[in-house]
């Protein structure tokens, strides 16, 4: 199934071979400390080198899409929180974006600004979480992970004060947001980003980016060639780590992203270290976007009063809309037949599609590297299995 030819030197040969000795088939099973959830890899090892890797997932399948077909449009917004449970606001935004495109609902200015702020805040949460988990897989006994989680807790507390729940926000509605965002909340966010979060970023940078062991363990490991990345449909920081300039915020210019100036970092070596640095640099950019958005956010309605949320019946038709989620391009493809329930409701999960190239990256690497490569792909099983 792998799209590219096997890496020269990795010996693809029979598992049971009396002369060379048997290959060891190890199941890093659904119940493994570093698979970020219920995900299984059947790894065939020649000594420590990986010869074959078969990912097995589906343990967290909750029938999300069939459920949405039997629910009203409004009722499936809380279910999108549970897709990628680390960043529920961007899931909401992607779904609401698709429904607005399907039924032609307008979104007022202030709502657009607030959506950008919350979307970028979720990106910060996801990236600082990922950096922590990646380094936890590398073996530090939880230290960088707990620094990241401490910052994430502060951000989640702010989101809880706004939306009512830390991770299951259910905050976006067709045509805007559920409630308005108070100016004190925005001021509190601004001071937090300028002081505590900035210090966290510098600390994490100093603690890890120059660390010799991290360099040795991640540079040159799990290389994903750019042509394979494009063919496999990889999106998000993984694609940009392979040096391809494709960020949907710049390509589609959806919502009001054209008003903010921010840069998109690109990697040259497309290895695990680049994927890790992509997330670190994107965090700096997201902080810049939020500060610009807070500076010139207009007054006005937080939701389009004419937009009908309850009992929405969009006219028959079909729409696909996508946004740049923290893990890549998350898109919703909705087909409506005029009734209250969507006829077809399809989610484009970036984690699952980024996962398809896991074997190509792990061939020829050691068992310890497969764990970090899986960590750098940044998957959340809720989104992979849906």
């Amino acid at each position: 199934m792998s799209l590219s030819e096997p890496i020269p030197g990795s010996t693809i040969r029979a598992v049971h071979d009396d002369f060379h000795g048997d290959l060891l088939e190890v199941s890093m099973g659904p119940h493994h400390p570093s698979t970020h959830g219920v995900f299984r890899m059947i790894v065939t090892l020649d000594g420590e080198v990986v010869v074959k890797l078969k990912p097995v997932f589906g343990y967290l399948h909750r029938n999300h899409e069939k459920l949405a077909e039997n629910n009203a449009y409004l009722a499936s917004i809380p279910y999108t929180d549970r897709l990628d449970y680390l960043c529920s606001l961007t899931n909401n935004w992607a779904y609401v974006h698709a429904v607005e495109k399907l039924s032609g609902i307008e979104v007022p200015e202030r709502a657009e600004y607030l959506r950008v702020i919350l979307g970028e805040l979720t990106r910060l949460i996801n990236h600082c979480c990922l950096v922590g988990f990646l380094l936890n897989d590398l073996g530090t006994s939880f230290t960088p992970l707990l620094y990241s989680l401490r910052e994430r807790e502060r951000m989640l507390d702010m989101i809880e004060a706004l939306t009512g729940s830390r991770m299951m926000c259910n905050f976006m509605r067709f045509g805007g947001l559920r409630t308005d965002v108070s100016s004190e909340w925005l001021a509190q966010l601004k001071t937090y980003l300028d002081t505590t979060f900035a210090r966290y970023l510098d600390e994490q940078d100093a603690l890890l980016t120059g660390n010799e062991i991290l360099l040795a363990r991640t540079q040159g490991v799990g290389v994903l060639k750019s042509d394979l990345a494009i063919n496999a449909g990889i999106t998000g920081p993984m694609l940009r780590a392979s040096g391809i300039n494709y960020d949907i915020r710049k390509v589609d210019k959806y919502s009001i992203y054209d008003r903010f100036d921010f840069r998109v970092p690109l990697g040259d070596h497309s290895d695990t270290y680049d994927r890790y640095m992509m997330r670190m640099l994107e965090m700096h950019e997201s902080v810049k976007i939020i500060q610009q958005a807070i500076k010139d956010i207009p007054e006005g309605p937080f939701i389009d009063p004419k937009a009908k949320n309850r009992g929405l019946r969009p006219k028959a038709g079909e729409a696909y809309a996508r946004i740049e989620g923290p893990k890549g391009e998350i898109g919703f493809h909705l087909i409506s037949d005029g009734t209250g329930n969507p006829y077809r409701y399809r989610v484009r999960p970036p984690s699952l599609i980024n996962l398809t190239v896991l074997e190509d990256m792990c061939l020829g690497q050691t068992l310890a590297d497969t764990v970090i490569i899986l960590g750098s792909v940044d998957i959340v099983l809720g989104e992979v299995d849906r």
Binding site: I7, P8, G9, G21, G364
Partner: protein
């Protein structure tokens, strides 16, 4: 080390020989190799009894530390699927050959034991206690040649191993 009467010598001998005998007749090969390592500790006990600490600790360090690992690695990597042993040792001729070799080794050992003049009585071991410093001086003065040759030999072997290990197979890019 205080000198010990003859009884302790017998105890050590019995224990060591017992362990080696058990090691020979066990079915599980891993158990045999580990019991072999324990018997080397028994031999170190002989040296301790005789008051030669340096040799005893060297024996434990070299044999129990490193050689037992080599034995275990060898046993581990050549683990045959439980083939029956007769088929392996081939025709009857090998068995005869085996007996002959054993006999020759036995005669050599017996001659060696018979010809070595044993020092006076067993119990009163009162030769001067040799400290490590004396061993060092002896090595430096009388056996300097042998010491240098062995040193160079070991270093060459070590560096050879490092070079062989470090030269990754060319196929890996």
């Amino acid at each position: 080390m205080t000198t010990f009467p003859i009884i302790t010598l017998l105890i050590i001998a019995v224990i060591t020989l017992g362990i080696t005998a058990v090691a020979l007749f066990l079915k599980n090969i891993i158990h045999c190799s580990i019991l072999l390592a324990v018997s080397w500790v028994g031999i170190a006990a002989f040296y301790l009894w005789a008051g030669a600490e340096f040799v005893a600790f060297a024996q434990v360090l070299v044999y129990v530390g490193a050689v037992s690992m080599v034995v275990l690695f060898a046993v581990l990597l050549t683990q045959r699927k439980q083939l029956d042993l007769e088929k392996l040792t081939g025709t009857v001729g090998f068995r005869e050959l085996g007996k002959l070799a054993a006999a020759m080794v036995a005669t050599v050992l017996v001659i060696a034991i018979a010809t070595t003049p044993l020092t006076g009585s067993f119990d009163a071991i009162n030769e001067p206690v040799i400290t490590v410093r004396d061993i060092g001086i002896q090595l430096r003065d009388n056996h300097i040649g042998a010491l240098l040759i062995v040193g160079v030999l070991l270093t060459v072997a070590l560096l050879g191993a490092v070079v062989v290990a470090s030269a990754e197979p060319k196929t890996e890019e």
